[in-house]
Subunit: 402 residues, 2 copies
């Protein structure tokens, strides 16, 4: 009577495993000072404009005249208006209020969006990839069986992202129904230009596939001609769902806020996917805390923008330091230009987990093993710019002295 | 390629339909003062102890030393400790930290718990019933087809709750795999005594079924011998999952906080359901906002307890007023003793939706049509004690003058 697909999952969720390993090391070595450049968690406190908004929301919730009960399933109007005006209108993208679905963090929708598709859709993922896309599809029975030796799920289409193709996947030979893309990419830190993304949109429209586009890191784009939204590409509203997060652009990892865009033009089998996602949210969700949505709206105020832009710049300074420090130490490293992630090749043929242990034990630095993101991540390792600057400098010093 | 089960859903989600109807009426009649005793939303502002906790959490999030990033998937330790000590230990129930899963409102887990079961489990629900249990199973393909004429899903086991059985379901003749029970009940306001619930536990253990027990309204229990938790019954840890909510006992409808208990002793097909739910949460969820969890912990402080107990008493005074006012006006009404809901029989053979329109147009009072909760809800209507006292008195005055 249980969902047997759960039993197919290999081992533990990547970041849970890392957490357990670090806890064990800390308990065995209480005197060591660990520097965490692993999990993509932020380290700067919430910006003052956001803290003020939480205080205001608390006061509103404490008075009968301004108290807020059940939030709208789709999100508060004030937040969706700010999203449309600031994240899309400024880039020439017109979206309606009912095309935005506010959520409690992009991870939930990353996992749940699969529910609007049938059990037998063919799913394509980048390799390496954010594990949630794969695991959620595996748990829903879409991934087939896990092949321990190859570290592959039998029924997924893998799109390798390698040093050779600059970590930009090629269009697969087998036709997928659903394609997960994430640019700027987690974990590689790579991204693609607008004309490259346009090719994916054209392909999806040609074969009737749906692209689930994860744009959680768009605030880190520093180069021109890199799209911030997939809807900057022509025809994308007919084939793409876009996910955004407040976790990284505004430090909301502990606040839990994101949103998903499902355009009204997006139909499959003659059915509006916008309607389907609304049904999903109405049934399985009850909106995001008013306090958190007020905090989210503060990100779009002049003070909020100025303060969160500074935070992003701070993390990108770290990422640059990591990338350049690794190159100086003789590592092969990429990323860190349009994304807070630096992707490095493990030295001396070490596996990703061997390098994880080596780094933890000898430099007391925590990173993320590339193999945790898929078989083509093997032999690579992810470091993030989300630490504080002094710790980042110290971590690189330790790595350079290994 | 879409999940066709979505297309089987009849019409709109109940409360969304009510919302649309009320909006239409308000726009057409801007001069009328509507009193909402329909959706189970609270009206009192958050208690001062909770507002203070939000302020404190905001300040913590604004300082580097006390900032909190990604929360634990299972919930913050301080909140789970408070839950175990206050909600369970006091009633003689011992639970471990890893048996509590904090969530962003019980509705999400009500819908998502089905994911740990296979697609072909047989599900039993009360009739009438909270729609989320039914709709989420229908969307997962477990409910069969909706039969418009009978208002039944072909593959669910319905357990009628009628005036004749005192709105307490009888054990079904067909064996279910999963049984949803909600006591104190939404929508009928009825509940069952401990010896009656023990029979359900014994039955589930005998046939190997799992009970999903929704205890969202336990704070409203006023009579002795009514169980606050299913784990007060012997053997329940071997067959029951329990859901709790902060929405109604502390006015958190706009804050979004609840939790689910999955005991470690609960196994099916030789697999721990606690392990399965942890897998689900690790993959599809990233924890609840730190600010909201701090607010939740404040409910368990001496001030928080005293203030929220007063709020519950306030709503129960309303419920009593509704129940007695309706009886005085010649209605048949029950509930309102161990639950904030009053369940009344529609007069003159009106259908539930006829009475909804009649009440909206003639008394400008919004209630909830019983038929929205299932076929045996037809001819009934739900009013709630969650309004403010003056409005509740005025609503009953208007109803008595109809």
């Amino acid at each position: 009577m249980i969902n047997k697909n759960y039993l197919k999952l290999p081992g533990s969720y990547l970041f849970a495993t890392i957490g357990r390993k670090v806890n064990e090391f800390t308990q065995a070595n209480p005197d060591k000072s660990i520097i965490r450049l692993g999990i993509g968690d932020v380290s700067l406190p919430l910006a003052p404009a956001i803290v003020n908004a939480i205080h205001e929301a608390a006061d509103e919730m404490g008075k009968a005249e301004t108290f807020h009960g059940y939030p709208d399933y789709e999100g508060c109007d004030f937040l969706r208006e700010a999203i449309i005006a600031n994240d899309y209108k400024t880039r020439g993208v017109d979206l309606g209020m009912d095309e935005i679905f506010v959520n409690d963090g992009a991870k939930c929708d990353s996992a749940d969006l699969g529910q609007i598709f049938s059990k037998d859709v063919k799913v394509a993922v980048c390799d390496p990839v954010y594990p949630v896309y794969v695991d959620s599809n595996a748990m829903a029975g879409r991934a087939g069986d896990y092949q321990e030796d190859k570290q592959y799920w039998s029924n997924l289409i893998y799109m390798p992202c390698t040093q050779e193709n600059g970590f930009a996947p090629e269009i697969p030979s087998e036709r997928p129904d659903v394609i997960y893309l994430c640019f700027p990419n987690n974990p590689t830190g790579a991204t693609i230009k607008k004309d490259q993304l346009q090719k994916w949109v054209d392909y999806a429209n040609e074969v009737g596939a749906v692209i689930i586009f994860d744009a959680a890191y768009e605030a880190y784009i520093s180069e021109d001609d890199v799209p911030h939204s997939i809807y900057e590409c022509e025809g994308a509203k007919k084939c793409a769902i876009e996910m955004r997060s407040f976790s990284k652009n505004a430090g909301f990892t502990g606040m839990r806020l994101g949103f998903t865009v499902v355009p009204k033009e997006l139909e499959r089998d003659g059915v509006s996917l916008n309607w389907m996602w609304l049904k999903h949210q109405e049934t399985s969700f009850n909106g995001v805390s008013y306090v958190v949505q007020k905090a989210g709206a503060a990100v779009y105020t002049p003070e909020g923008k100025q303060q969160t832009t500074q935070q992003v710049a701070y993390y990108m300074k770290n990422a640059k330091y990591i990338r350049e420090g690794l190159l100086k130490a003789g590592f092969e490293a990429s990323g860190g230009v349009n994304a807070p992630y630096v992707w490095l090749k493990t030295p001396n043929g070490m596996t990703s987990w061997e390098f994880f242990d080596y780094l933890l034990e000898n430099a007391n630095v925590v990173g993320t093993p590339g193999s945790g993101f898929g078989p083509h991540g093997e032999g690579f390792f992810r470091l993030t710019g989300f630490g504080n600057y002094e710790n980042t400098v110290e971590a690189i010093r330790r790595i350079q002295n290994l």
